[in-house]
Symmetry: C2
Subunit: 374 residues, 2 copies
């Protein structure tokens, strides 16, 4: 595989090769502080969701700002985080392949690693791996708090699964994973609040039921960039799992904040840097960013700071900008910034973040946890 | 970066780790032969579009079946092909960054490499690089034959640009790039034929105008999986550039063929292999293939050979299958095959093709030309 560096430290922004992901470090630092300040005094800690950025260097900045560790969705992501120096990882997902379970247990010999379950079939397999690697593996029961993706039903089903975990001598029941994914992107603040009110009620009832049966929930974890203030104010959740807040994307910017204005608690800190490669079709410019350099699953990227220019169409290696009369007169070689439509899968397409302080490259951060999730 | 192998040679299909791309080699060989047979006797050669598969091992099979070389869209793809042993590459795209142009010229010292232009500003920069590396660089003028993405207008604009190329002592005018991308996916055969009839007429008129001015078009190149028979029958095009025919995807399968039935000249040979990881929500199964393992830009993947199961929703690391009553009773750990919605960007997400002969792994082919296109 070729791993080309899109830039070198000390370069100015104009010298960065494209397509590249560029990070405004000042903005990242403001976003980190905004979240830390919001959680300060709540008693709720932050477990940063590293599936978003996939980058140990950035995870370290989050931990320096108070995060207790990271979340990952895949064993391969967790491995990349531990290899990158992160010593506390929760896999917020079910791991069912026996070989992946063995890798997870192996990783747990070198770092604090926990995992989720939502199926009793999974429990003895986890226990067997824990035995093989001589560990006591912390396991959370994932409950379905409304996203209808994974998780057992709150209440009795959760209790039975927690008891199954607790009955295994290689596993430690550690608490509840109660993340409401689809609530994050509900556009209206009252919709997000209603969804999390429901999640909190279901989780509290489950927590209480488990306590009545002698099972304590040390961790109750969930919450994302769109809803974290509700989970933090619940007097129930012990952790929130925000990820997108570091970079923000065009999709999150479509949410309406609690103040009735577009959600702007966090600022856009990540951009796709692109080059104009053709201007031969009147009224448009062709750039070198298509499906291979950005993911448009949540809508197209947004052209940054260039009124009159709109990203209207992506093909594999190309993006078409429609230019109105108010747009600047672009020529080949011009460079532009795009705000990604959806950051997580966009970051997955690149090898490096080019980290800028002002307009100068301060660092290149490898995106080591990228990949399909093998 | 971690490069995990999803399988080892000799394994059976059930042992392959997921998410993985699996290739049915028997089907690939039939698809290669179908295209070669269709072009046999036409006098038109095949230049395989390697931007689809990004894999020198597969390009070599195409060349063994008669392809004259490959097309790429990015310099990085061309470099990976030459490094992988392919000695004839046309970059069917404009390259405007001076550093990428130098890499292109450098590559042309080691292999037969040509490139396209659609802007006179680009011509002297290419010429300068050709001088620097002591080469005569073949350059095609790209004309816009209806896709409205790149390319100068056919006729006079193309003539002027070809003359500009011809006036440079480091460049050799090599012909016309006349690819109609959007025609490939027009659903009705008469729509595809009408689009290519227009492309052929515009290209022929341009070719004749250039000839009148003493400029011969050694190469006239274009055509894809959806339309290649029309270009091959044009008595004008010298090459066709099919790529998707090797693997086929769900989007191409939505085309209607000339016989009025779904386009089935080529068979599905590439599948995303997935594992069921949760069955906790009634009526659905959650699999480990989401945006990071497939690209849904042209629609979702299709569940292969499993009536009653439909891929209805992807999130970053998960895919939701809706299961009707006719679907099998899936449990965690079950493995399924998906036909990708769009192969090119899906292949870009993986490191390897797991190549199967029947149900046994015969090879792992690295996807070395993947990446954003740096």
């Amino acid at each position: 595989m070729t791993h080309r560096h899109p830039a070198q430290v000390g370069m100015s922004i104009e010298e960065i090769e494209t397509p590249a992901l560029i990070v405004d470090l000042d903005t990242v630092e403001r976003n980190l502080k905004t979240l830390a300040d919001a959680l300060d005094g709540t008693g709720v800690v932050h477990r940063a969701h590293a599936k978003m950025h996939k980058c140990p260097a950035l995870a370290k900045l989050q931990i320096a700002q108070g995060a207790v560790g990271v979340c990952c969705q895949k064993v391969s992501e967790a491995e990349a985080m531990v290899e990158g120096g992160i010593d506390n990882v929760l896999v917020t997902n079910e791991i069912v392949d026996p070989r992946k379970i063995e890798r997870l247990a192996d990783l747990a010999t070198r770092a604090s690693v926990a995992v989720c379950v939502d199926n009793p079939l999974n429990v003895p397999v986890l226990n067997e791996a824990a035995h093989k690697f001589g560990i006591m593996l912390p396991v959370l029961v994932e409950i379905n708090v409304g996203a209808n993706r994974a998780g057992v039903e709150p209440g009795r089903a959760a209790l039975e699964l927690a008891q199954a975990v607790d009955s295994m001598d290689g596993l430690r029941f550690a608490g509840l994973q109660a993340y409401h994914g689809s609530a994050q992107h509900k556009r209206k603040p009252e919709e997000r609040k209603a969804a999390i009110d429901g999640a909190v009620a279901a989780t509290r009832q489950t927590r209480d039921l488990l306590m009545q049966h002698g099972l304590a929930c040390d961790m109750i974890t969930g919450g994302g960039t769109g809803t974290y203030r509700h989970e933090a104010a619940s007097d129930l959740y012990t952790e929130i799992q925000a990820g997108s807040y570091v970079f923000m994307d065009a999709d999150y910017a479509k949410n309406i904040g609690d103040n009735g204005k577009p959600f702007a608690e966090f600022e856009h800190a990540l951009f796709i840097y692109a080059t104009v490669m053709s201007t031969s079709i009147p009224g448009q410019a062709l750039i070198d960013v298509g499906h291979k350099a950005q993911s448009s699953d949540s809508g197209p990227p947004v052209v940054y700071d260039m009124p009159g220019a709109e990203f209207v169409k992506a093909s594999d290696e190309h993006g078409v900008l429609k230019l109105s009369e108010s747009a600047p007169n672009l020529i080949i070689g011009d460079k532009i910034k795009l705000i990604p439509g959806h950051i997580d899968p966009t970051c997955n397409l690149h090898e490096y973040y080019v980290v800028l302080r002002g307009d100068i490259v301060e660092a290149l951060w490898p995106i080591t946890a990228k990949g399909p999730g093998l």
